[in-house]
Symmetry: C2
Subunit: 360 residues, 2 copies
């Protein structure tokens, strides 16, 4: 075991502080834990000794006796993506004042990976785990976990047999579909995400239901993989079909790819084809045309999941199985009534331009 800091003398411990302050180690402990029964003067000299020595309590020693690590684990699918990254950010921000948060960013969400990550966290001694589990495989893996620490899932769909928080995808999809229908479209096509994703499935059923409810015919389902390229490829396939007038995309990226393909084929958005996305990524207000989309508040999702987890750590039973968060539609310029023809590039709606976001 090569020690990290070889030459340096050992850092000061509580006994050193006690000696310098002329008290017992227990008194130092009392000061550190702000125990009431310490004379102000004593506290002062202890604090002075702590400062002079640059003493830091040893977390491992404290954990050993208190059995509290004040650490949470978050396992997530590829955290470089917008959704997971936003949830993670929400979680971390909310947790920072009371817990350390450890992460595991998996390149895949198969059973083994998820279980492996959870196991690592358990070895580390986390007090609770959040799994950002947007795929069915992850949900399945989570329900198999038999840990003695609470676990909550996020973005795992609203029907998972787990304590969880999720955006109501079906409602969001219905919102988008109805919006297009209300605009006067006969029906709405849907470019879905991969079937292995819970969100994709729920959005499909939301779309189906809205269609059925309105008595609109259900076109063949189109399936992408969430990425721009897949939306583009599908767009190339459908651009030639004149009956495609309204498309609800499973996410903004596929919508972007679709819009590009339509543009290449000379079909104007929204004049010839109306497009609605899902997610409301920061860029979508500036697409050409600005994208009408369904916004889901990832940050809020993360915060809610964290709050639930902390409640459970504190011994409260989880209030509900799944905490649903309602998404809402952000109407911009990519969808319009079927007949309408647009001339020049429309001015950006002011609301969108007012959104501020700093980023590199």
């Amino acid at each position: 075991m090569a020690p990290a800091r070889a030459g340096r003398s050992r850092p000061p411990v509580m006994a050193d502080v006690a000696r310098l302050a002329g008290v017992s180690h227990q008194t130092v402990s009392r000061v550190l834990n702000s125990h009431p029964n310490v004379k102000a003067q004593t506290r002062g000299s202890v604090l002075a000794a702590i400062a002079e020595l640059g003493y830091r309590p040893n977390a491992a020693a404290r954990t050993l006796v208190t059995r509290r690590t004040r650490t949470l684990g978050v396992v997530s699918f590829d955290t470089s993506l917008y959704g997971p990254a936003s949830m993670l950010y929400g979680i971390e921000r909310a947790a920072a004042h009371s817990y350390f948060v450890s992460i595991a960013s998996l390149p895949a969400l198969d059973r083994r990976s998820v279980l492996g990550a959870v196991d690592r966290f358990l070895d580390q001694g986390v007090e609770g785990i959040i799994v950002i589990a947007p795929k069915t495989s992850a949900v399945a893996a989570c329900s198999r976990v038999r840990a003695n620490v609470p676990l909550v899932a996020v973005g795992c769909g609203t029907h998972a047999p787990l304590t969880s928080a999720a955006v109501d995808n079906a409602a969001g999809a219905a919102l988008a579909t109805r919006y297009l229908l209300d605009l006067g479209h006969r029906t709405v096509h849907h470019i879905a995400g991969p079937a292995s994703w819970v969100d994709a499935q729920e959005r499909i059923s939301g779309w189906r239901e809205a269609l059925a409810q309105a008595g609109a015919p259900e076109p063949e389902l189109l399936s992408g993989d969430w990425g721009c390229p897949s939306g583009y490829r599908i767009g190339q396939r459908i651009a030639a079909s004149p009956e495609v007038r309204a498309v609800f995309c499973g996410n903004d990226h596929m919508a972007l790819g679709l819009i590009r393909a339509l543009a290449e084929h000379g079909r104007r958005v929204p004049g010839d084809v109306s497009v609605v996305g899902f997610d409301d990524i920061p860029e979508s207000a500036y697409f050409l045309p600005p994208l009408t989309t369904v916004r889901q508040d990832f940050g809020e999702l993360g915060r809610r999941a964290l709050a639930t987890l902390i409640d459970m750590i504190d011994g409260h039973p989880p209030p509900v199985s799944c905490l649903r968060i309602a998404p809402h539609l952000v109407a911009r310029a990519s969808a319009s009534a079927p007949g309408s023809r647009l001339g020049a590039v429309p001015r950006l709606p002011l609301g969108a331009a007012a959104e501020e976001r700093e980023h590199p």
Copy 2:
């Protein structure tokens, strides 16, 4: 101190395993640490006892004596943004097999926040710290840290007085500028990021140098805040100026905003104005037109920083002060020779369409 799991009986400890296997606790320890001198049969019975009891070594106890937490801390600016998120992902992926990684996502990078986050990590007992420090304030804060654990900065510019890894922004900016100049443009305008960002400054100087080197006049510097809205606002201001024919944007988001503003004013990209971005976010290949931009490999940056940090933890001195990573230009369709006029929407270059990326 309310215990997390009240009713449950205490989890098994090494002594329990020893008792069940009929050996001493030390032998159990030897098995766990794969010590060579343990008889195969003994190892077997210990392993069986471990499995039967579902025993997990207590990390705190081990840390207390070995003085190794196997934990790293990463402090970063808002990890929901593409750059930080990608670096974080690169770091975590590379570290996962040997270290736990704890994160702190700060909403601001002022001295107090950064120092506070570092302090928390020190309290936690991390063995090393990586700071994603794209702002000058963060760099300043880092150089003030006097920790007894190694610290490396990422994305902090190539001249910071710290062990660090950074993309060579100046080189990237020069690349973009020269590209536009070589296309035949008389000069190149630049929309920079905020002055408080190291990357913004370095890109400005790269742009200046390339201009000077080519003997091109230097137009007034335009400053945004990295966000789409700022690019859009600046675009509205400059769209009317016919002398603006080539613009190098500090990042892809501002380029997107700019392109939208230009479109609204009837100026075609690249026919009337050529624009080049920076970052190469996943969406930029699908913008209208596909964005020519400078790609920086954030993931690689993270991995390199991590490798350096681990080297330092292992006692090796850092090889160089700043590890530079060269960005490269990705030529797509948003920049062309000044005279050229485009008819229909250009087909997407195949190279871009071939890029695959799965994301929610």
